[in-house]
Amino acid sequence: MSGAGSTHAAERRLSQLVTVLAFALPVVFVLVPLAIFLVYSFFSVDQGTIVHSPTLRNYVRFFTDPIFLPVFWNTIVLCVSVAVICILLAYPAAYFLTTLKGRWRYALLMLLLVPLLMSYVIKIYAIRSILGLNGFLNKALVALGILDQPSTLFVFNMNAILLTLSLLLIPFAILPIFLSLERIPQTLLRASDDLGASSLQTFLRITLPLSLPGVASAASFVFVLAIGDFLTPQMVGGISGFTFGRILYSQFGTAYNWPFGAALSVALAIVVIAAILIGERFGRSRGTSV
């Protein structure tokens, strides 16, 4: 009897330990670094040395300097555009996958997700070569007669960042939309058919509203990944493709102004958290209102 009791106690202790670990890991590796950044954002730098006395100077600089707010706003607009392009391409693809039967559905889904396995940097280099003056895109547009001569419209500017991020992030939009479409009960669609609704009516009144939580998740997912990216703008943005991620990178690197970089990170984190909350709220309200 006492043996069974000690076994129960050991199991209880083990489950308590696992619970503590499950909470401690995100706290230690996510919340504590964020809190450190928040604290750093109230410090300042004097002649290359961090001054550990609290000040609001970094935030005042962010809101009053004519450079940072316009770049911040342009980056938000860019990332919303990336999210919209990804959704417009991913939704039909995910919808098509759900119309397939059996193993074809998952085989094609895997095929669309496999590009995620390839190195991010190599993909950016490859996309840069496609968008360049002698790249595939320019050659195709010239061959089709849309352009008279190769254009620099697609490389080393904001358009290049928009196209590259969209290409890189499409798989992140396909998966949540596919999952939300797959979860729609077939009985609802059959009932719609039985009641004489056309395919378009069924799509507009059942499929689309019920898949909106997945669309919202996909949009917030793509937006968050795009807004935090500094490598893509660095590699395809050139001089005119300046995004907030590049400013952040420069503050932690060449400028060596960690407190100001931390203040910019806090501003970025607020936008990211807002995007996640909006996506979650929008998805939940649309998903339950049908």
Binding site: L89, A93, T99, L111, L112, A126
Partner: protein, 41 residues
Amino acid sequence: MSALPRPSTIFLAAITSLVAVLLYRPLFVPIVSSFFIISHG
């Protein structure tokens, strides 16, 4: 998902093919390039 009219299926398949091309084209470039060499001079 219920069966779609043929034009809708063709449209969706075309978009899916476009997405596949967009995703695989950047992978194709380094793979093909790896079979070439650069000649100096």
